[in-house]
């Protein structure tokens, strides 16, 4: 990576995620987290704003349009939106702060996957001519990947148990039982291997240069951030590995130092195994101490929350070097990795 301007996460907030529709609209989900990061930083205006959301979750166009009303974007603001997980909105904001003429950025993401059938909706992101007609839903293609990996049931169960136990300690995540019996949903995946349907939102404030130190006592500096996509067609990839996550991790510089905590966007238990290997995480790295997506998965905010959670460990002084990961596309097609340091 070239000479970059110091940019840090200086504030992070998330909703108390729910496994059901509480009746709150998307703007109603966003407003409290926006207020929280404003209170944390004392900022009411930001030089740049970027968000991530997906129209298909609500089944209506322009979910981000009414989010601007929650934002109270007046006077008009410099703002953009990605139809991707909000981790990529954070990336766009990080790039914008590299220009040198903007110092603060607000990033947020939101999703209500309770509104529809998430498994079927996610099928709509497949190649509409050659893949979608096969009728594979999200669970089926994840199971294909889990089969390719061939992880043991014990190992998958350990990941789920650890994630759900951590999630119950996390006031923002869902309370899910540590152990759950049940048959296969799609072999080899069981219900508890799958991230729960979740509604929620999250917001992050980025600050560059001197502003970072002014807005937080211990800013979480983004020492590296990179993302890579790989071929869409599952048959063109070695599903047991994630070449794009490995490339992104190298570009972000994960291996340049110890990794105390890693927050991984693993929406299925087996994905954690693939990602640990791709990121070459040391054995002593604590993975998903928040519970990760297996304990709360507000789609379109889940990746941003990984960055927020990894940053929070720096902001609160409990760690000095952490890693965050976000993913998009079927079977970890697209991966983003960020390294955060005190």
């Amino acid at each position: 990576m070239r000479q970059v301007r110091d940019v840090a996460v200086v504030a992070f907030a998330q909703t108390r995620h729910t496994g059901h529709d509480t009746g709150a609209s998307e703007p109603e989900l966003i407003l409290p987290v926006l207020e929280e990061v404003r209170a944390q930083t004392g900022l009411r205006r930001f030089d740049f704003t970027c968000s991530g959301s997906c129209d298909y979750l609500a089944g209506a166009p322009f979910s981000f349009v009414s989010a601007l009303d929650a934002l109270g974007a007046w006077p008009p603001i410099s703002e953009s939106h990605v139809e991707m997980d909000a981790a990529w909105a954070l990336y766009e904001a990080w790039v914008r702060l590299q220009h040198g003429d903007a110092d603060t950025a607000l990033v947020y993401g939101f999703g209500k996957s309770s509104m529809g059938d998430l498994r079927a909706i996610m099928t709509l992101q497949l190649d509409p001519y050659y893949l979608a007609p096969l009728g594979l839903d999200q669970l089926s293609y994840a199971a294909l990947q889990a089969s390719a990996l061939g992880a043991s049931r014990d190992e998958l169960d350990r990941i789920v148990r650890r994630s759900r136990t951590a999630g119950r300690e996390n006031p923002y995540a869902l309370d899910l039982p540590a152990d759950e019996d049940g048959g296969f949903l799609v072999e080899p995946l069981k219900a508890h291997d799958v991230a729960p349907v979740t509604d929620g939102a999250a917001a992050v404030v980025l600050a560059a240069g001197d502003r970072a130190g002014e807005l937080a006592t211990r800013p979480a500096f983004i020492r590296g951030i990179a993302h890579r996509i790989e071929p869409h067609y599952l048959g063109m990839r070695d599903l047991a590995r994630s070449a794009s996550a490995a490339d992104a991790a190298r570009a972000a510089g994960v291996g340049k130092g110890p990794v105390e905590v890693a927050e991984l966007h693993a929406q299925f238990s087996h994905e954690e195994i693939i990602l640990r290997e791709a990121l070459e995480l040391p054995a002593d790295t604590v993975v998903n101490p928040s519970g990760g997506p297996l304990a709360a998965n507000p789609v379109m905010a889940t990746g941003l929350i990984r960055i927020g959670e990894a940053a929070r460990r720096i902001l609160d002084g409990s760690a000095s070097r952490t890693v965050a990961h976000a993913a998009g596309g079927p079977c970890l097609q697209h991966n983003l990795v960020a390294v955060l340091e005190a």
């Binding site: 070239r2 000479q3 609209s25 704003t49 997906c54 129209d55 298909y56 609500a58 089944g59 209506a60 166009p61 322009f62 349009v65 009414s66 601007l68 009303d69 934002l71 109270g72 974007a73 007046w74 008009p76 603001i77 410099s78 703002e79 953009s80 939106h81 990605v82 139809e83 991707m84 990529w88 990336y91 766009e92 790039v95 914008r96 702060l97 590299q98 220009h99 040198g100 003429d101 996610m122 709509l124 992101q125 497949l126 190649d127 509409p128 001519y129 990179a226 993302h227 890579r228 996509i229 790989e230 071929p231 869409h232 067609y233 063109m236 070449a243 998009g328 596309g329 097609q333 697209h334």
Partner: protein, 382 residues
């Protein structure tokens, strides 16, 4: 605004009602390959890809960048997907430029598309209960009251919209990529078409098009061929439901223009800009945006249109390409404005070239006239 950025390649597909001979991937690849060819490059020379399009409901493919990664040579590279409503094409160019200006990459491919024939845009643009009362009016029904209010405020005579509809279709006859080629277009022809949404007649609206547009953007050290230099970039957004906002002359548009003019050193846009490609999906938006963008004083935009100043042989040609009124692959329409502005200052606009164009404005808007994206490009290094 960071490091210098230039447009070094432009590629467009022939805009048309239905491109049944290509898939969505084939459509975007066609534009991308033409942009690469223009730049004298291949996919191997590209560091990152940025894709833009309007709502995914238009084609029924959710977050289609995942599926388009292979066709756009993005595998192994960073890829982004931008969506800012109708302004998305412009925003896509700006996100791509930002990657260069921020010093992150040297060459970025930006691509925007819409394959409107895959679905029904009016349906896809209409929100439904429980989010909003469903009007099922699409964009024309939404913007018609704003146009009526403009006419009331400015006292513009009724034929102004007709003049724009004729002028842009005359320009389209000179553009090989334009969708609508209406030979013999005249005021009488426009006025004989049905009234769709008072005061917008059928020929005063944009068509529904299939098409894609692509650009190769480069840092200063990575320039090949003929560059169009980026002199300024800006985005602005305002809330759709804010009670006090002026939907006829939106503050976000004025602020965005002031920002981009400031960066490019433009004091008087009518004098300092040689040609403008502005998002005019309904004829009356030309006089409205002439005012919003500072080419005319408030209430005076229609006089500029009436005088012929915005025609191809006028002193400030608007939409020499034929504009959105002649080609409208929605998600790409903003990028086409930005790309046509670049073609003009590169001297590569062909039959619709404005002689000696040195500085050009690219403009896009979207949502309830609340999202704005603009850039100024020039033949000389900023």
């Amino acid at each position: 605004m960071g490091n210098r950025c230039a447009v070094i390649g432009v590629g467009q597909t022939k805009y048309t009602t239905k491109r049944q001979d290509v898939s969505i991937a084939g459509l975007v690849r066609e534009a991308a390959l033409r942009a690469l060819e223009d730049a004298g490059l291949t996919f191997a020379d590209i560091d990152a890809v940025v894709v833009g399009k309007a709502p995914d409901l238009f084609e029924g493919v959710m977050m289609p960048e995942a599926y388009l990664a292979d066709a756009l040579g993005a595998a192994g590279k960073p890829m982004m997907r931008v969506h800012t409503a109708g302004s998305v094409g412009g925003s896509t160019a700006l996100v791509g430029a930002s990657l260069i200006q921020g010093g992150v990459h040297d060459r970025v491919l930006v691509v925007a598309f819409e394959k409107q024939s895959e679905s029904n845009a009016t349906w896809a643009l209409s929100t439904h209960l429980p989010f909003n009362a469903s009007l099922v009016v699409g964009a024309g029904g939404y913007f018609a009251p704003h146009i009526r209010e403009y006419i009331r405020r400015s006292g513009a005579p009724a034929h102004i919209g007709t003049l724009v509809a004729v002028k842009d279709r005359l320009n389209a006859l000179k553009n090989p990529y334009a969708h609508l080629k209406i030979h013999g277009i005249s005021r009488e022809m426009v006025e004989s078409t049905p009234m769709l949404w008072e005061p917008i007649r059928y020929l005063e609206t944009c068509p529904s098009s299939d098409g894609a547009c692509a650009m190769v953007l480069a840092s200063e050290q990575a320039v090949t061929g003929t560059p169009a230099w980026v002199h300024g970039t800006a985005m602005r957004s305002e809330p759709i439901f804010r009670a006090g906002r002026d939907t006829v002359n939106p503050q976000a548009g004025k602020d965005c223009a002031a920002d981009v003019y400031g960066q490019a050193g433009i004091a008087d846009p009518r004098r300092d800009i040689d040609v403008a490609e502005v998002y005019v999906p309904f004829s009356w938006y030309e006089p409205m945006w002439l005012e919003n963008l500072g080419f005319a004083a408030e209430g005076e935009g229609w006089k500029l249109t009436e005088s012929g100043a915005t025609a191809l042989d006028g002193d400030i040609p608007w939409n020499a390409s034929g504009g959105v009124l002649s080609s409208n692959p929605i998600g790409a329409s903003g990028l086409i404005r930005f790309a046509e502005a670049a073609l003009q200052v590169r001297g590569m606009a062909g039959e619709h070239q404005v002689d000696g164009a040195r500085r050009a404005l690219g403009h896009a808007y979207g949502g309830g006239a609340q999202f704005f994206a603009m850039w100024i490009v020039g033949s000389e290094k900023p």
